[in-house]
């Protein structure tokens, strides 16, 4: 598969004559090694348990049911998220949908709302939203931005002239979308789908509240009841295997595509696609999506805020203090993850040979691993090799960067793919060194991708709970840990301010993200 992959890829994209940049290769290998630490930990732990114990847990009807639940959910939610995410991105970037500049921003925000808050919101208002239907609803509403954001970014960066040409040649809007836009965006859509399916494999909090059991909730249960971490780790390896299958599937599909057209002379869209009679139904659809994904959880938090905390129990950290820590850790992790994603993306896009592609794909595995497992792995390695970093903010930031690396990577990769190699070659021919070229030419070209990566990781890290509980410096509270502490106490009124703060601080990068793209679009560009 991989040979075929690299062959096809080089046809679509680049001449294969380039030398492997050694610096990038070394950096990328180190990053991949860092990201594989959790897997090594799982293998080490799993070795401690006898096969008998693992097989007793693994080979029973319940496992089949739970795996079935997981797969059924992953397939349906991924398909829905792909459809909704791509459709919304097209509407915002290519159509004359009213209020699309605002929507571009609002549509990202569901990512900022913790899935457990969304699930809690639904269950507390409509208890019938549970089980499979509830899981599909909550996860689709929470995860479609993982498709929407990279696809919107790639549409915005992509050259619209192909689509316009197609339209002037008489191709209808639907066929233009299907044959031109979709084809251009395909690798990005697939990358988003990959993130959605892997995130579903790792999801736990929402399913627990919704009462939908999957193989992953079973793993968490093993961690929480059995005092048998090794057995739970052994079960986690099954999820890793599933993740590898998803990766292989996405790889096969991606390789069949041709790759995007580089936006050499990317310019402003001349005339957005008129929606005509579809305009208002589509507005309605988007508003419904926003109501479900954003309005509902915010409404429930508002309700609990209004109820107030009848709990007389003391608060261990003020909302402000917890918010400061949350912002700080999340921003640092977002920066680290983005910086780490850059060399891997440059290497993978510019030198897509077989071994590089394997290296690249290995970095996705963490997305399918529960944060709890990644945190325990870091406990293990930190105490063995770097005891002085244990339970420092540095280690927590590293954990976040690892957990959310794939998010950063997808955004960075999408923009690297669209940055024209030609400009770099011109700069090289003018006598610049490779690093000068990267700094002066490549970096500015891919900056939107870096910004998107930063925001994506930030939004997700703000809500991280299970790894935080294990690795946060002792005594420090984040918004997520405080929310958890109060809901565990049934003090929903007291928990609500923390959830509200999580959403409030996530709106800032959301607005930045929207503003950034908007500005770029309106900037004067060289005409092609």
């Amino acid at each position: 598969m991989a040979t075929l992959a690299s062959g096809l890829n080089s046809i679509g994209q680049l001449p294969a004559r380039r030398r492997l940049p050694r610096g990038l290769l070394v950096a990328s290998s180190l990053i991949a090694a860092l990201l594989l630490l959790p897997l090594i930990f799982l293998l080490l732990e799993a070795r401690q348990v006898g096969w008998g114990q693992v097989s007793a847990l693994l080979f029973r009807p319940l496992t089949a049911t739970l795996l079935g639940n997981l797969l059924q959910l992953a397939v349906v939610v991924t398909a829905l998220a792909a459809g909704i995410g791509t459709g919304a991105a097209w509407l915002v970037e290519r159509s004359d949908l009213p209020g699309r500049r605002l929507l571009a921003l609002v549509l990202v925000l569901p990512l900022a709302i913790p899935d457990f808050v969304v699930a809690f919101g639904w269950v507390s208002i409509l208890p019938s939203v549970s089980g499979y239907g509830g899981a599909v609803l909550v996860m689709t509403a929470g995860l479609y931005p993982l498709v929407y954001l990279p696809v919107a970014a790639s549409l915005r960066g992509a050259d619209p002239s192909l689509e316009e040409t197609a339209r002037t040649l008489g191709l209808g809007p639907w066929r233009t979308f299907w044959h031109v836009t979709l084809r251009q965006a395909r690798p990005t859509i697939l990358a988003g789908c990959l993130l959605v399916s892997l995130a579903l494999l790792a999801e736990y909090g929402a399913f627990e509240i919704l009462g939908y059991q999957t193989f992953t909730t079973e793993i968490f249960t093993e961690f929480q009841v059995g005092f048998n971490a090794p057995a739970a780790c052994a079960l986690s390896l099954v999820v890793v295997l599933l993740g590898l299958l998803v990766l292989a599937g996405e790889g096969t599909l991606r390789d069949r595509g041709r790759g995007t057209r580089a936006a050499h002379n990317s310019r402003k869209l001349i005339s957005p696609q008129r929606l005509g009679a579809w305009r208002w139904p589509l507005v309605g659809g988007i508003l419904l999506l926003i109501a479900v994904a954003l309005g509902m959880p915010i409404g429930v938090i508002g309700y609990w805020l209004a109820q107030g905390g009848s709990s007389t129990l003391p608060q261990s950290a003020s909302v402000g203090n917890a918010a400061l820590h949350t912002v700080w850790y999340s921003a640092a992790a977002a920066a680290v993850a983005t910086v780490l994603a850059l060399p891997v993306a440059l290497l993978a896009v510019r030198s897509p040979i077989r071994s590089v592609r394997l290296l690249e794909r290995s970095t996705y595995i963490v997305q399918g691993l529960p944060g709890l497992v990644i945190a325990l792995a870091l406990v293990f390695f930190a105490l063995h090799y770097l005891p002085f970093v244990y339970q420092t903010s540095g280690l927590l930031i590293a954990a976040y960067a690892i957990v959310f690396f794939p998010l950063a990577y997808v955004a960075v990769r999408a923009s690297v793919m669209q940055a024209p190699v030609g400009l770099e070659e011109v700069a090289r021919s003018l006598g610049r060194t490779p690093w000068q070229v990267r700094w002066r030419v490549t970096l500015p070209l891919i900056a939107p991708g870096l910004a998107a990566a930063f925001c994506l990781v930030f939004l997700s890290a703000v809500t991280e709970l299970t790894a935080t509980l294990i690795l946060v410096p002792t005594g420090v509270q984040t918004l997520a840990t405080q929310f958890w502490a109060f809901t565990g106490q049934v003090s929903y009124g007291a928990a609500a301010p923390y959830a509200a703060a999580m959403i409030a601080i996530s709106i800032v990068p959301g607005i930045l993200l929207g503003y950034w793209f908007d500005r770029r679009q309106r900037l004067p560009r060289g005409s092609s």
């Binding site: 005092f227 406990v379 903010s393 500015p444 106490q489 770029r520």
Partner: protein, 347 residues
């Protein structure tokens, strides 16, 4: 012409680099040593319960205590993973099995006799490695619109009767559920416990919940009619939403019924602690009159166990409870209950 793009891009890149630099700084800053008199407490108890105790202890002794809260079983796993390098001085859990497990791993230090003496011996570790701090009792919770007290079973075993089909809710992964299973297995044998689990599983059907909080809330909302919980979840829900919103009540099982179980919350000093004396003072404080009095008055709604302090929260008096004859050692680390839950495919 492309200048503005480059300028804004470069700005973003600079922002990222500055953030990265700050991240590195923080990594170094975080590693700075703590003052000597700071204790680290790994807390599996409800954080608010612990916080009020810690605040008073700090005021009184000048010894600082930093708290790390998490699910008690994950904390236990973390302590085992940390081994002798554990930064924790103390561990405080909601249930005895977590402590018994750490005791079995030889990670707990002996508790001074004077501290153990504050609490009736049957609520302490038999190996003197942890001290009981507070207790809870398992009770039935039922929806008062759907059931009257005359409907209620006298024994937990009856919950497996088909008449509870569709009415019962279960939280198989809730730590408080395991002692009930252990107790049934202890009184009636493993086979009977497994039959019971099969029965309640069939009765619960899709009504499986993550924890006692959820069972209590769902009984109260009428989604299910009955469940078995630890008493304090009902009192806490009432404190949170107000008496007028309560459509449920709790009921005690028959005297010495297998489902009538006392769960003990306790604390211990880790063997690896480098502040043994200060940590022992914290244990002593927990079971002192003052510490127990704090618990008795707090909204945790638990029974204080030591120094002769009784609860003031309107609970049925601890001394009048008639629980199953089950010792802390019988409860053990809960491994048998978990094995049964696996066998019944509830986990």
């Amino acid at each position: 012409m492309t200048r503005p793009t480059v300028a804004t891009s470069a700005l973003a890149v600079r922002v990222v680099l500055v953030a990265l630099g700050l991240a590195l700084l923080s990594a170094c800053g975080g590693a700075a040593g703590r003052p000597q008199t700071t204790l680290v407490l790994y807390n599996g108890q409800h954080p608010q319960t612990t916080d009020s105790l810690v605040a008073t202890f700090e005021r009184q002794t000048g010894i600082q205590v930093t708290v790390r809260s998490n699910d008690e079983d994950v904390l236990a796993d973390q302590i085992v993973l940390e081994g002798s390098a554990s930064p924790a001085d103390l561990v405080y859990t909601e249930n005895s099995p977590a402590l018994e497990y750490l005791q079995g791993k030889n990670l707990l230090a002996k508790v001074p006799r004077s501290t153990l003496a504050q609490v009736p011996a049957r609520y302490n570790s038999s190996a003197s490695r942890w001290v009981g701090v507070s207790a809870r009792v398992s009770v039935l919770v039922y929806n008062t619109k759907m059931l009257t007290p005359s409907h209620l079973p006298a024994s937990v075993l009856n919950l497996a009767d088909p008449r509870w089909k569709g009415l019962l809710g279960l939280a198989p992964s809730e730590t408080d559920f395991q002692p009930i299973i252990t107790s049934i297995a202890h009184q009636y044998g493993r086979a009977e416990a497994l039959r019971w689990l099969d029965g309640v599983k069939a009765n619960a059907g899709p009504h499986l919940y993550p924890d006692n909080e959820a069972i209590t809330a769902r009984v109260n909302s009428g989604e299910i009619a009955i469940g078995i919980i630890n008493h304090y979840y009902w009192y806490r829900l009432r404190a949170e939403i107000g008496s007028d919103q309560m459509h449920s009540a709790i009921a005690y099982l028959g005297p010495r019924d297998a489902g009538y179980v006392i769960d003990v919350s306790g604390a211990a000093v880790l063997k690896s602690s480098k502040h043994r004396q200060a940590a022992e003072r914290f244990l002593a404080f927990l079971v002192s009159h003052q510490g127990q009095d704090l618990l008795a008055h707090s909204d945790s709604f638990e029974y204080p166990l030591g120094s002769g302090v009784a609860t003031v929260k309107g609970l049925r008096p601890f001394a009048s409870l008639q629980p199953a004859p089950l010792t802390i050692e019988d409860l053990g680390d809960g491994a048998e209950a978990v094995a049964l839950l696996h066998q019944a495919e509830l986990l």
